[in-house]
Point group: C2
Chain length 746, copies 2
Amino acid sequence: MKLKTLLLALSLIGGTAMAQESKIAEMQQKAKALIAQMTVEEKIEQLMNATPGIERLGIKPYNYWSEALHGVARNGKATVFPEPIGMGASFNPELLQAVGEAISDEARAKFDDSQRLQRYGIYAGLTFWSPNVNIFRDPRWGRGMETFGEDPYLTGVMGSAFVHGMQGNDPFYLKTATCAKHFAVHSGPETLRHSFDARPSQRDLFETYLPAFRTLVEDAKVEIVMGAYNRVFGKSASGSDYLLTDLLRNQWGFQGHVVSDCGAVTDIWQGHKLAADGAEACAIAIKAGLNVECGDTFQYMGEALKRGLVTEEELDNALLPLLMTRIKLGILFDDPDCPYNHCAETSTILSKEHVALARRAAQETMLLLKNDEALPIDKNINSICVVGAGATDIFSMFGNYYGVSNHYTTYLEGIVDKVSPSTSVLHRSGYMYGGPNLNAVDWSYGDAQGADVCVLVLGNTGNFEGEEGDAIATVEQGDRTTLMLPEHQMEYFRKVAKDHKNKLVTVITGGSPVDLREIYAGSDAVIQVWYPGQEGGTALADLLFGDANFSGRLPMTVPVSTEVLPDFDNYDMHGRTYKYMDQENILFPFGYGLSYGQVQYDDAALEGPVDGDNRGIFDLKRIKKGKQEPIRMQAKIWTEGTQPVYETMQLYACAPGSAAVEGCKVGEAGDVANSQLIAFRKVLVKPGEPQIVTFEITPEDLMTVQPDGTKALVKGVHSLYLGAAAPGVRSSELGVSIVGTAVVVK
Amino acid sequence: MKLKTLLLALSLIGGTAMAQESKIAEMQQKAKALIAQMTVEEKIEQLMNATPGIERLGIKPYNYWSEALHGVARNGKATVFPEPIGMGASFNPELLQAVGEAISDEARAKFDDSQRLQRYGIYAGLTFWSPNVNIFRDPRWGRGMETFGEDPYLTGVMGSAFVHGMQGNDPFYLKTATCAKHFAVHSGPETLRHSFDARPSQRDLFETYLPAFRTLVEDAKVEIVMGAYNRVFGKSASGSDYLLTDLLRNQWGFQGHVVSDCGAVTDIWQGHKLAADGAEACAIAIKAGLNVECGDTFQYMGEALKRGLVTEEELDNALLPLLMTRIKLGILFDDPDCPYNHCAETSTILSKEHVALARRAAQETMLLLKNDEALPIDKNINSICVVGAGATDIFSMFGNYYGVSNHYTTYLEGIVDKVSPSTSVLHRSGYMYGGPNLNAVDWSYGDAQGADVCVLVLGNTGNFEGEEGDAIATVEQGDRTTLMLPEHQMEYFRKVAKDHKNKLVTVITGGSPVDLREIYAGSDAVIQVWYPGQEGGTALADLLFGDANFSGRLPMTVPVSTEVLPDFDNYDMHGRTYKYMDQENILFPFGYGLSYGQVQYDDAALEGPVDGDNRGIFDLKRIKKGKQEPIRMQAKIWTEGTQPVYETMQLYACAPGSAAVEGCKVGEAGDVANSQLIAFRKVLVKPGEPQIVTFEITPEDLMTVQPDGTKALVKGVHSLYLGAAAPGVRSSELGVSIVGTAVVVK
C-alpha cells in the first residue's frame, strides 16, 4: 500500500511535468492556429497594447497595460501597500510575496467585475507592468522609489518574491502576469530617457545592471520583460537584439513576452534617430525580439511589410508568446481549466486581512535612524505636537503608480488614536508644500513648542520626485537636483528645532535619500517612512508608541550631501552605492537601521572545511570536480532591549583586492567592490533568548564579476562580515554590530 | 390623587424657581466668603485666565481658556464637526444644538480625565470661548469662517442653539460654559484689530452688530461674553463701560462673566494708547466691567491698587461672577449636586453616535450652487477622476480652532468608497498649495481627462484664511486681499476645464465667498463644502452619489468679485450683505442653494386680520392695547424631484421705503434694508406630497431699526416674501421660487 502510494506520487510528478510540456505544446498549437486565421491587419493590431477584439475568432478586446507596483493601480479601489523602496527596506521577501498574493487576489476580483461589465480598457487587465528591478544608482532619480534599492542581490530576491506572489504557483496557468522592467541599464535622468545612450562597463553591466533581471527570468519565471527607453551600447533597449534575443531568450531561456516602454518604439526613430521613419523602427523592434508595443509606431508595420523590412512570419513569431501569456492567464478563451478564473470575490478588495497586511508591511518598511531617548512615546503623555503638511495629507503616503483606497490613516490620525483622552495633541500645518510662509505674524509653531514631544513631518511627496511629467514640483522632469529638502521646509525645521523645548521627532517622507545632516543634528529622533500606503499612520503610530518595533533597514546608502555624488548621467558605478562609495561620503550605510533594543553579534565561527587559522577553505580543484563542501558561518545574536526585534542579518563578502572593512576607498582598493551582499535573513530576536544562526556559503556566493563581465571565484582571502549593516568605517562609527571571518580560495 | 399630583407639580415648579434663587444666593455667599479669605495678590491671580490653585481654600488651579468652536479644540482627540460657517449654511438650529450636546459630552469626559491626571493647563477646562457671533461683514475677513454668516437673526438663532446644547438645561448648573464673542463690532481687518476704532451708525449697531449678542444673553443665557480687541466709539471693547456695563449688565441683564480677548487689555495701553501704562489699563478694564483678563497686563493690578486707580472692592466685584461660573460648573468645590460631575464616559469621545452626527452635520452644511445634469453620479460609473490637493489633505477640512480626530475621511476616500469594484478612479494631485507647478512635461491632469466625471477640489484652507498669525499663506495676517483663488489653482482649473471631455464637478473648500465667475461658467456642477470636519469625505460622497440630498443654503451673499466690495475697514453696512448690496453685485444671493429636485412655492395666503385686498393689517392702536392678533402666512411647497428635500423656507420682510424685490438698489431705496430675514424653517418635502406650511407673524417681527438705533414698527405697506433665497433681481434670474404678500401697518 505504501509503495503503491509512492509510485503513484512519482508517476504524478513525472506525469505533471509531461502534462505540462504537452499542455504548452497543445496551447501553442492553438495559438498558432488562431494566428493563422488572422489577417495581417489583425496581427498588427494585436501587437499594440490596446488590442481590439476579433469576434469571429472569439477573441475579446484586451489592453496589456495594467499597473500594480504596490497594489492594483490606476484602476479604482484597491488595498494600497507600501512603495517598493520601503519593501526593499523591509528586507522581507516572504512579506512581499504575501503582498503579491493579496494584490493578485484583488486583481482577479477586479478583472472579473470588469469583464462582467465589458470593460476592456487600460489598467483593467491582468498583465501588470511591475516590478521595477532597476538599480537605484543615483539618489536623484525620481523613480528610485519604485525600486528595491541599490543592491542587485536584494533587488533580485525581492523582485522574485513579488513575482511569485503575483503569478501564483500553478505549473501552467498564471494568476496574473508580472513584468521585469526596465530592461536594461535604466535609472535616469528622466530628461534624457528618450535619447540617452548608456554604455556601462562589462563589469557594471553584469555585476550591477543585469543580475536582478536574470534572477527574475531564470528563477522566478517572470512572464513579461519591458524594454527600456534609453539606448544601451547604441541600440534602443526596446530594439536591442543583444538584450532581447541573445541575453534574454538565448542565454536566460525567457519564455514570456517583451513589451516596449510606452513610446519607446517611437523613440527609436524620433528620440534616438536610429531609424529614418516609423516603418524602419517597427522592423528594428520586431527583429530585435519585441513582442508588443506600448505606443503607436506599429501603425507603420503594414508599410514595413510592404517595403520588405519585416516578414509576416516575424509578426507571427512576435505574436505567439504574447497570445500565450493570455492563454496562461486563462483569458484568451475564458479557459475553464484555469484555476484562477471566476473564483475571486470582490469582498477580497480592501478586506480586513489585506488591510492588516498593509499595516504590517508599512511597519516593516519604516526606518529609525536616530533615537536619543525620544522613543517610544508614553501613550499617557501630557502633550504631543504633530506638525507639518505631511502629517495630514494622504498624498504624502501614495508614492507613484498607486491605487486608491477608501481608507487611509494619516500620521496625525495614527497618533491621535494612540494617546489618552486627555493628552493634548497640538497640530499646526506648519509649512506648505509649494512655497514659503508669507504671514509676518508667525503662529506656524505657536504653543506647540511646549509639548512634551513634537512629531514634525517633513519630506518629499510624489510631486517632488517621480516619473517624467508626474512630479509637478520638479524642474528636471521628475528628478531632483539636490538631496536637500525644499528650503521652506528646512526653514520650518530650523524654527521648530530652535523653539521646541522637549523631544523632537522628525519624520521624513519620500522615496529617496535626503540630505539629513542638519535634521539629524537637530532632532532627538529621525524616522524615514518612505511612501507607506494606506496604513502609514497606523504603522507609524504603532512604532512611535512601542506597539511594534522598528525593523526597516536602508536599501541604499545615504550620502552626506548632494556634492559627493558623481554626475547624474554617469553610469559608472564608481563612487556609487555601498560597494563603491568612499566611506567619508556616507552618512548612513546600506543595511543600517535601529530598533528598540540593539541586536548584538558575536562568536563568529565557521564549520566545514577550515584551516588551522579557522579560515574556511574553498579548493578550486575540488570545486571543478564537484566535490567542494559548503562552508557554514555561524554567529550568536541577542538583544539587550526589552522588546522582540526583527533583525535583518546581513552577510557580506569582500573579495581579494577589495578595501574590505578598513579604509574602503575605491581609489585605494582599486576596481573591486568594498563588499557585496550575498545573503540576508530577517530573524526574530527575543530578549533573554540569544540565538546561534547559521548561513551556508557556497563557492558561487563568493564569485565576483570580472572586468570582462564574466563571473569568477578569485584566489586569495575572501573576508566575510555578518552584521547589521554593510561593513565599513561609517558602520563602525555608528556602532553597528558586525562580526567577521574569512575564506581562503586556493 | 390627581389633584394632589397637580399641586405637587405646581409646588415643585414654584419651588424650583424659589430653590433656584436661594441656591444662587447661597452660592454667592459662599463665593463672597471665599473672596474674603483671599489676599489681594491671590485675588489678582484669580483675575487672569491661568489661575493658580489656593490650597488652603480648596481651590484647584484652573485655566479659563478652552476652545470648542466645532468640537473640543486644541485638547487632543475629539469629534470634529463642521466649522460654524457651514452650520450657518445648514439653517438647522436643532442639528447645531445636538452638536453642542455631543461636544459638551466629550468636554466633560475629557475634563474628568484631565482632573484625574491633575492636568489643569490651557484648553483643559470647561469654559469654552465659543460661539463667535460676529457678523461676517466682509468676505475678506479671515475669521468669517467662525461665524454663522452675515445675518444677525440667523446668527442669533444658531448661536443660541449652540449655547443651549453646550450649557445643558439644568436651572442652576452648567454642563459647560459658552462665550459670545467678540463683543462687539468686530470683523476685521486682522491687521488693525489691536488699534482700530469702529464707529458704526446707531442703525448698524443695533440692526447688525448687537442683536445676536443680545439674543444669546437674554434668550440663551450665555455664561460668558468676550470683549473684542478693537475700540468701539473710542473705547476698547474690552474696557468699554457702555458695552460691558450699560448694555450688557444693565439693559440686557447679563449674569455671567466677561473675559477679554487675549491681550486685549494690553492693547488698551500698547495698541490703542488709551492708557499711559499697565496700571491705568487695569483700572479701565475693571471699572468698565471686565471680570477676567486673558493676558498678563493684570500683573499691574497691584500697582493700580496702590496708586488708587482701583479699589479692592472693585476686584471683589469682578471676581464674584467669575467664581460663580466655576460654581455653576460644579467644579470650584467639586460639587456633588452638579448633575454633570463625574458621570461622563471617555467612550463618548468619538463615539459611533457622535461620528454619525458629524456626518449628518457635514451633509447639511454642503451647498450645491450649480448642477447641469452632472449629479448625482451613478455608483457603477465607468470612470471618475478625483483631482486637486484638497482631495487628499484632511487639513482642507479642519477650518480653525479645531480638535483632532483619529479618523477623517478625505474627499478621495469618500468617493472611492462609493463606486463599484471595477470603476476606474483616476487621481492626480494636480496642484500644490503654496505655489505653481514647475514641470514642463505636464501630467498634472493626464489620462484623467477621459473620465466620465471629474471631481476637481479647489479652494482655501486654514492656511489661506484665518486669525492673525494662523494663516501662513496670507500677507494680510489671516485676511484675504482678493476673492480670487490662488492663481496656480485657477491655472489648473483652466487646464482641467479645457481638457476634460465629460462632466466637470468643481468642489470648493473654504470658509468664505470666492470669486466663482470663471468656475461657475466652466463647470457642470459647483459645490461649496466649507470646512466640514472629519466626515467631510463621507458626507460629500453621500451627496455626490445621491445617498443624501443637498440642503445647505448660503449664510452670506456671494458677490461677483472683489471689486464690488466696499473698503474692508469700512463698518458701514451700505453695499454689504443681502440687506444693502446692489443686486448687480450679487453672484449668489443669501439663502440660495440647490437640491436634487427643486422645491416650488405657491398659493401664498394670509390668515388673521386682513383687508379687502388680502393684505394683513397691523393696527398700532390695537398693538398698544395688547389686542393685536398675529397674522399667519401660509404657502404650499412641493418638489418635482424624485428625492425628499430638506428645504429651508425663508421668510423675509421688506419695510416701507425698502427697495423690496424689484430694483433693490440701496441708493434708490434710501437707507432701509432691501429685506430682512425674520423667520426660517427647515422642512422635509417628499415627492408627491405637497405641504401647506404656516408662519406666524407678530408686529415685533416687522419692526425695523431706525437711524437713532431704536426699533419701531413703521406705518405703511410691509412686503413679505417666503421662498428659497433672499428676494431680489438676482434670485429671480436664478429662478428661485419665492411667493409674496403684504401687511399694512396703520
